[in-house]
């Protein structure tokens, strides 16, 4: 007999019985969208970190292998003599084959394919290089050489990541708006179902906030329960996606990896769903009751 007494049997309403499942679907969609956006952001960040302060020098394949080797020595010599360069290492052939293997396969064909030679160049921290000047010097010493600082590619990737993040937040906002709309209608339906009980409570001297508390306690429990179901389902999906990504060797799809903070963002979804449900129910009930005589 002690403890909180639920005066209105809101959990038994048909209008609210399916609410946790609707919230679960919403939270699932929100979790997947956020996870996708955060994984993309992490990936872009990793690319940015990995490629900032790095250059790639490419030597076009020459007619004869011997000539190739001579040009490589000249290129390495110029690069290593530059004060801004921390290291300049040629990318070995096995690694090169690894890069193209996902597209061309590992068969005899690639052995006959004329491949460019690459040099991975790392610059000192905060060092800058005059790319035009460096490219000219390298071209003079080894014709068929080009220098790439990845800026163009990286700018495109970062722009794409920003767009994806913007779309994801917009999608989550739409999902939240849809969830709030459903909650408002469910609360209004429950108010109609329990109008006799509410009228009785009013006659007995219940304040609107007492009645609103009935609804918000039920909404908090249902929202949190639905959010938990949605999050657990999303986590299962993410784990399955991670497993699928690990099992494939095509190397095109980025691996879904999230930071601790990003996992915490996902973990906050059920409480957030509960809080949104609580606030929506409270405001809806108070708004409807305020219009009553």
């Amino acid at each position: 007999m002690a403890g909180h007494i639920r005066v209105l049997p809101l959990d038994r309403d048909d209008s609210r019985r399916y609410l946790p499942w609707i919230v679960a679907v919403m939270v699932y969609l929100a979790a997947m969208t956020l996870a996708g956006a955060m994984a993309t952001a992490s990936m872009a960040s990793r690319w940015q970190t990995g490629l900032t302060g790095a250059l790639t020098v490419q030597l076009q394949p020459a007619a004869e292998t011997q000539a190739n080797d001579g040009r490589m020595e000249a290129v390495l010599s110029i690069l290593r003599a530059d004060a801004a360069v921390a290291s300049a290492e040629p990318v070995d052939e096995e690694k090169m084959l690894g890069f193209i293997q996902p597209w061309l396969g590992r068969d005899g064909l690639t052995l006959d394919l004329p491949l460019p030679r690459l040099v991975d160049v790392r610059l000192h921290d905060r060092a800058s290089v005059d790319l035009v000047d460096l490219a000219a010097r390298l071209e003079a010493a080894a014709p068929g050489t080009s220098v790439d600082d990845h800026a163009r590619w990286l700018t495109g990737i970062l722009k794409l990541a920003r767009v994806i993040r913007f779309i994801a937040f917009g999608t989550v906002a739409l999902i939240a708006a849809a969830a709030i709309t459903v909650l408002v209608f469910a609360t209004r339906a429950a108010l109609a179902v329990h109008k006799d009980g509410i009228a009785l409570l009013h006659i007995m001297g219940a304040r609107n906030r007492f009645i609103a508390r009935e609804f918000q306690v039920a909404a908090l429990a249902q929202g949190f329960r639905g959010g938990l179901i949605g999050l657990l389902t999303a986590l299962a999906t993410l784990v399955a996606l991670g497993g699928a990504g690990l099992n494939t060797d095509i190397g095109i799809l980025p691996q879904v990896t999230l930071t601790t903070l990003q996992w915490l963002v996902l973990a906050a979804l059920p409480p957030a769903a509960g809080a949104v449900a609580l606030i929506t129910a409270r405001l809806t009930v108070l708004s409807v009751l305020a219009r009553l005589a």
């Binding site: 007999m1 002690a2 007494i5 005066v7 049997p9 038994r12 006799d196 009980g197 009228a199 009785l200 409570l201 009013h202 006659i203 007995m204 001297g205 219940a206 304040r207 007492f210 005589a293």
Partner: protein, 237 residues
């Protein structure tokens, strides 16, 4: 305590169900509200427990003009009124205990006080062994006793009862009416709407007689022919 001045009530565009009601109930009064079915007894009670507003006239309750009371102050006013409904209006999913405890919880009473008073009162109305029973498992008479206990538990200043003894036998009816009498002696103003003229005649309290939506007669049973022995019988009940 209660004053009606030229009060009228109509539902929608229909005819007036109550017309030109003018009367006053003093603090601590006890009245029977009598009249045939459809006379407007329930409508008058609804005006008294602030479930409806009159379409005309002035109602003063606890020295305040009802129409001028701000909405936020209505709950406090309503908490001073206890109501027993003809159809009980219990919450079916709440136990007898929790139904009776509700007015105290609305007032913010402590749980220890609630437990003590509710148990005592339910025991008094012979439901001490039904504290945890849900209303659907109770008989009509038991439900009525729960409804009455709920109406009186918070010691209201005004107690309104609509046919409070309609579903109980004579012995329980007298016992319940004596509960109302005890509350009346403690200063509660009581209005009991009833068809049961036999019951009315056993108590020497004034009547408000409603016929066709109008107050026809207000008189005290003391003014009627004395019926020796009836009051004594009531006193034994």
């Amino acid at each position: 305590m209660v004053r009606f001045e030229n009060v009228g009530l109509r539902y929608g565009l229909g005819p007036e169900v109550l017309r030109d009601l003018t009367f006053e109930l003093e603090s601590g009064a006890f009245h029977f509200l009598v009249g045939p079915s459809g006379a407007g007894k329930s409508s008058l009670l609804q005006l008294l427990y602030l479930a409806r507003r009159p379409t005309r006239g002035l109602i003063t309750l606890f020295d305040r003009a009802v129409l001028k009371v701000p909405r936020r102050e209505l709950p406090a006013l309503r908490q001073r009124i206890g109501v027993v409904f003809q159809d009980f209006r219990l919450f079916d999913h709440l136990s007898a205990f929790d139904n009776v405890a509700l007015p105290l919880r609305l007032k913010g009473a402590k749980e220890t006080e609630i437990r003590k008073h509710v148990s005592e009162l339910l025991t008094w109305v012979e439901l001490g062994d039904h504290l945890d029973a849900l209303p659907p498992t109770l008989s009509g008479g038991q439900k009525q006793r729960v409804a009455i206990a709920r109406a009186v538990i918070a010691r209201p200043r005004l107690l309104l009862a609509d046919e409070p003894t309609g579903n109980v036998d004579d012995r329980i009816a007298m016992r319940l009416l004596h509960l109302f009498v005890e509350l009346h002696k403690m200063g509660t103003t009581v209005v009991i709407a009833t068809h049961n003229l036999e019951l009315v005649s056993r108590f020497r309290y004034p009547e408000l007689r409603l016929e066709n939506g109008e107050i026809k007669q207000v008189r005290a049973s003391a003014q009627r022919d004395a019926r020796p022995g009836i009051e004594a019988a009531a006193g034994r009940g």
